[in-house]
Amino acid sequence: MKKIKLYIFSFLCLLLFAGSQSKPFMELWADYRVQKLHAPFTRARYGDLYSGCFLSRFMDTSDNIKLKEYRALRNNIDLYIMHDSYLANQLKKENFIGVDSLVLSDLRNKKGVYFKLRKDKENILIIECSERTAEWRLGDSALAFTKFYTTNRLQEVKKVKEPKDKLIKYFFNPFIEQNLEFNLFDYEVFKPVKELKAGLNFYWFNKLPKDVAVSSDKEYLLLPETVNPWKQESSFRGISDNELDKIAVQMKQIKKHYRKLGFKKIFFAVVPNPASIIDQKRMRYNYKIGRIIGRYGTPDDFIDVFKIFEHARKRIYRRDDSHWNRNGIQLWINEVNKKISSL
C-alpha cells in the first residue's frame, strides 16, 4: 500500500514536472484554466506589475471606462494598425470615425498576419509601439518589415525551420520555474499570503521584487527598466543624436516600404512610458519621443500624445500595470480620429 502511494505521488510529481517543461501543454493548460475553469492567472486578472509584486495598495480596479463608439460613417477608409501590448484586445472599428474596416496586427506575434490590401480603399497604416521599445520596433527595419506580410512573405515564414536543439529545449525549458510557479501557486487562494509577504518586505524593509519599481510619489508601479538609466528602455538614459538619427532613417525606410505596398498614409505612434509622464522629474528625462519626431522631420506622420498626456487631468496609466488605462487609449484614439478626418 505504501509503495502504491509512493508510485502515485512520484507519478504526480513527474506529471507536474513534465507538464511544466512543455510549452504546448502550458499553452493549452493556461487556456483551459481561463476558459473552462474560470480561474485566470494573476497577470490576466490584475495588472502585470501587481502580479510581479503583490502590493495591494497599488491595485487598480477602476479601469472599466468604455471607449467611445461612433456610428459607422462610411468614408472609404481601411485602417490597419500594427501594435504592441498597449493596444492588444482593446480596439473595435467603431472607435474610429469613418473607418470601414479595422485590421489589427500584433507586432509581438512572431508568426505574422496575412492580409491583402483592397485597391479601391484608402488604406491607412498606423505603426504603434511604446517609447521603451521604439529603438527596436522602429529602429530595426527588418523586424518591422517581417511583421507585415504579403502572401509570399507568409509562405516564407512557414518555411522557417524549428531549431535543432528543440529536444534539448523540451527537456530543459528555461521557463520551467515560472511554469511551476504558475501551476502550483498562481491561484486566488494564495493571494493574501503573497500580499502579506510583499507588504512585510515593502513596508519594513522598503524592498521590492526586481520586476517592479515605484514612482517617486509612491502612487504607481513602474517597469524597472524604464527608470533604470543604464537600461535601453529607460526614460532616463542618455540617448545620442546619432542613435536617434539611425531610428529616423529606419523609420523613413519603413514608410517607403509600406507606401510601395499600397498604403496611402503611414503614421507612427510612440506611446510614452508611464515614467516619462508621471515620474518625469525622477531623473533627467531624455525626451526620446520629441527628439525622434524632430530627427524624423515630418511631425504630421506622428500620432503624438505626449503633450496631451502631460496635461491630462485624469489618470491615464494604470497604477498596477505597465500600460495605459482606457482614458489613455481614448485620448490616443481621439488623436487618431483627428488625423483621419484631416486627410
Binding site: L6, Y7, S10, C13, F17, F171, F205, N206
Partner: protein
Amino acid sequence: MLFNSLQFLVFFAFVVSLYYALPHRSRWFLLLLASCYFYMVFVPEYVLILFGVILIDYLAAFLIAGTQGFKRKLSLGLSLAANIGILCYFKYYNFFLDNISLLLNSFHVSNPLPYIYVVLPIGLSFHTFQAMSYTIEVYRGNQQPEKHFGIYALYVLFFPQLVAGPIERPQNLLPQFKKEQIYSSLNLRSGLILMAWGFFKKVVIADRLAVVVDDCYWDPGSHSTGDLWITVLFYSIQIYCDFSGYSDIAIGAAKTMGINLMENFKNPYLSTSLTEFWRRWHISLSTWFRDYVYIPMGGNRMGLKKMCFAILLVFFLSGLWHGAKYTFIVWALIHAFFLILEHILKTKNSDPGNFLSRLLKILYTLLVTGIAWIFFRAQNIGDAFFIINRLFTLNTPHWNELAMNTNELVFSFMLIAVLLSLEKPIKKFTPKSSFTYYSALFTLILICYFFGIFNSRQFIYFQF
C-alpha cells in the same frame, strides 16, 4: 539545477518518492539518471566530459589494482593527469595565457596562443577532486576498484553533492549505494529539517546580505568606513551561510534517502584560532588537501621549515582550487601566514584560557578571516587594498549608505544572532515527536517564504 528553485523541489520530491518505491536493485539507476538530469540543467553537453573522466578513472582503478611498480604509478599518473588536465583546460588556461601575455608584453612580444571562450563546467573542482580521491585510495590500497560502472558513475555524479560538495571519499559513499536503504521516517525528518535550515541560511540570510555586499564591492569608494566594516562582517556571514547552506541541503537531501554525507562545517566562526578554523571550515576540502598533499609531504613530523613550506604549498593550491585569480591566492596565503605564525607561537602558549581570552581569540579569528575574505570577494587586489585602507581610516563622515534600510540592518543582525545560537542545536535535532518535527519544519518554511530573497542567485561555490 539550483537547490533554491521550485524545479529542484519538485524534482527532489519525485526522486525521493520513486527511490523508496523502487526495489533496491534499480535505485542506483534512478539516482544516476536523476543526477545526470540535475547536472545537464546547467549545460547539457558537459555531462559528456564528466562521463569521459568517469570512464578513464573507472578503467584506471582496475589498472592500478592489477599492476605493480611503475605501471601502477603510471596508471595513477594518467588518471590524475586526465582529471587535472580537464580542470586546467577549463579553469586555468586563460589565466595562464594572461600571465604569459603579460610576460611576453614586457619583451614587446605578442602572445601567439588563442584564448578559449567556454563556460566553466559547474562544480568542476568538486567532482574532479572527488574522482581523484577514488583513484588515489585505490592506489593506496584503501579501496577496491568498483566493478559496477553505474555505481562508480553515481559516486562521482550523486546529485546532492555533485556541484558543491562535500567532496566525498569512496570508502564512505560507495558502500552506502550498495547497501539497501530501508525507509526510515527519522532519516526523512532529520534530512528535511536540515534541508529547510540550509534553505533558511541561503535564501533568508546569505541572499539578503549579498545585496549589501555586492553593492559595496561594486563601488567601494562610495562607502564609508562604517559601511565597509559592516560589509566585511556581512560577507563573512554570507559566504558561510551560502556554502554551509548548500552543504546542509546536500547532506539533508542525501539523508532523506538514507545516505550519510560527511559534515562540511562545524561553526567555524567560533574557532579560537586559524588552525581550528580550518578544522571546522570546508572540512571535506581541507581534509582532502591534508590527506593527499600535506601528509604525503611529511605532515607535522617535518622540521619547521619544511612544515612551513608544506603549509604554504597546500594553501597556494587551495587558493588556486578556488579560481584562477590572484585574489584567491592572496586570500589563501594570508591564511597560510597566520597558520604558520600560530604553529610557531603554539609551542610557547598553548593555554586554552578563560572566557574573556577565548572571546578575544574568537574575535582574532573573525578579524583575520574577515580581512582575508576581502581578497576573496574583491574584484581585484587593488580594490582589496583600497577597502583595507579605508577600514582603518576614520575620515569618511557619511554613515549607512548601505543597500538596506535601518530596519533591515537590524533584522540582519538579528538573523546573525539566530544563526549563531541555533546552528548547533538544529544539527543535533532528532525529530522524534511529530509535533516538534512539524512545528520546526513549518516555522522554517514560513520564515523562508516570508523573509527569503528569491532571485535565483547561484551558490557562490558553484563557480569553483
